[in-house]
């Protein structure tokens, strides 16, 4: 197809990355300073630096995590489609995977028990519900 006007970009801008890294560096420094303040006995200043450093650290790590290139997941799991072939006379049942050409009420092979013609009784998919 020749209609690719603009492909959505997956790359992150270098400026944005630089801002995140600078914030991460400053936050690390603030955390280090918080430790030295606690060592010096200044609990109040230590708390302030810990708050600033901690929040900056968490925020920048989160932003860094968000910039990871996400692998494309289609999010749809293939579910098995089951065809049941039934003998109306003796009740013999053959359950197998769906095959192209199957349809409900299609005449199938003769019954191995009573030799009566069997037919496709059901075609459905089984869904596993997420709880």
């Amino acid at each position: 197809m020749s209609n690719e006007v603009e492909k959505p970009s997956k790359r992150i801008s270098y400026l944005f990355l630089a801002i995140i890294l600078i914030t991460l560096a400053l936050s690390t420094v603030a955390l280090y300073l918080a430790l030295t303040e606690y060592d010096a006995g200044s609990i109040g200043s230590g708390n302030s630096l810990l708050l600033i450093g901690g929040s900056g650290f968490v925020l920048s790590l989160y932003m860094l995590y968000q910039t990871r290139r996400k692998t494309m997941r289609l999010g749809i799991k293939e579910q098995p489609v089951i065809t049941t072939i039934l003998c109306q006379k003796c009740g013999f049942k053959n359950v197998r995977d769906f095959q192209r050409g199957d349809y409900v009420f299609k005449e199938a092979e003769p019954c191995p028990k009573c030799n009566e013609k069997m037919s496709v009784a059901s075609i459905y998919r089984e869904v596993e519900e997420k709880h």
Partner: protein, 373 residues
């Protein structure tokens, strides 16, 4: 409050303290002036993710259609270019400034579209039989819809990036979860229509197919079949679209013909269709009500309502509930099992709403792909 406290222990000349102060000030200034712009970029990134997904869906739909045509249709030339043209098709809606007669205009448009699609498929897949032709047509329609979803979202994505308008992007971001839900439903429909498996929408057709088993069927316009079945002491005309190819027929025309064949002497009509469920409801729940329960553009509903009004025939409805994803993907077990529940409900409605010896119509509405008769 925090800044003086940070600054104080480090001393006025401490370079790191100053950097921290400036960083915090910058943080506030940036958010004050560029907050909206940052929000815009975050939204654009979210849309990009969905757009990539839609592109994958679109490519998958196109690839599936080409493969199916090659496998079933045995074309002499490569159908790729023709498929690419097909998925760009559009139907321009009729003018409705003067709404009188709009139904017939819509019907004509749909007939032309149907004929055009069939001709296209015949040209692309000359070796396909009738059922396969219908399935290929459905596969192409799903590919067309997936292409439309992709292009629609891409249009607003590019427009938003060009104009850097928060409001353009915001509108798209707000409807995106619903659009993605629809697109994922169409994507999951691909496998079903390609392989000719029964879909959730066919629940009504399956009810009719079960009722007409073992009875003689005859074709009835357009693309429908009818069987006369003794049912709870009444004579039931059971109608469905002709399967097993992907087909919804024109139940409006079929019901009208049966009523006219019986000179209007029909005691009751019971229509069965798959209907959308609310979140929180279980798929396969059965509900009953009144009215011509039939989806689509409304032409068949209009015809049924016109005819039943003329002869004063009550129309009862039985709905098998499912969500939009289930209605166009392979029929799930719960819906298949619900068919027997629906038959029991029909029996009760027939016993309560008509007398023995009456003639009634039982119409199973929906796409009959993967369901014979």
């Amino acid at each position: 409050m925090l800044i003086p406290q940070v600054n104080q222990p480090l001393g006025g000349g401490d370079i790191i303290g100053w950097i921290l102060q400036i960083a915090w000030l910058l943080f506030f200034v940036v958010f004050m002036f560029y907050g909206q712009r940052i929000q815009l970029y975050v939204m654009i990134r979210e849309i990009e993710g969905s757009l990539n997904k839609l592109k994958l869906f679109r490519d998958e739909g196109r690839k599936n259609a080409i493969q199916t045509i090659k496998e079933l249709g045995k074309p002499e030339t490569d159908p790729t270019a023709r498929v690419d043209q097909f998925i760009e098709y559009f139907a321009y809606p009729p003018q409705s400034m003067d709404p009188a007669g709009i139904v017939w205009k819509v019907e004509h448009l749909l007939d032309v579209m149907d004929e055009r699609f069939k001709d296209e498929v015949k040209m692309m897949a000359p070796a396909a039989d009738i059922a396969q032709t219908r399935n290929i047509e459905l596969t192409l329609e799903v590919a067309l819809d997936l292409n439309y979803f992709y292009k629609f979202v891409r249009h607003f994505y590019i427009l938003g990036k060009k104009t850097l308008s928060l409001y353009v992007i915001m509108q798209l971001q707000m409807v995106l979860p619903l659009l993605m839900r629809m697109a994922e439903a169409y994507r999951s429909a691909l496998k079903a229509v390609t392989f000719g498996q029964p879909i959730g929408d066919g629940a009504g057709a399956l009810v009719a197919a079960k009722l007409m088993q073992g009875h003689e069927k005859r074709k009835i316009p357009k693309d429908c079949v009818v069987a006369t079945v003794p049912f709870e002491g009444r004579t039931a005309y059971v109608v469905k679209a002709e399967g097993p190819g992907g087909n919804v027929g024109k139940p409006g025309d079929a019901i009208k013909q049966i009523i006219e064949e019986n000179e209007g002497k029909i005691a009751n009509i019971i229509m069965i269709d798959a209907g959308e469920k609310y979140e929180g409801e279980e798929p396969g729940e059965v509900a009953e009500g009144i009215g011509a329960i039939i989806g689509g553009p409304g032409v068949d509903q209009f015809k049924i309502e016109e005819t039943t009004l003329k002869y004063k025939i009550p129309v009862n409805a039985v709905k098998i509930k499912e969500d939009v994803g289930d209605s166009i993907s392979t029929m799930r077990k719960e819906i298949f099992d619900a068919v027997n529940v629906a038959i029991e409900r029909i029996k009760r409605v027939v016993r309560e709403r008509s007398r023995e010896g009456d003639a009634i119509i039982i119409a199973g509405i929906g796409n009959t792909i993967g369901i014979g008769q």
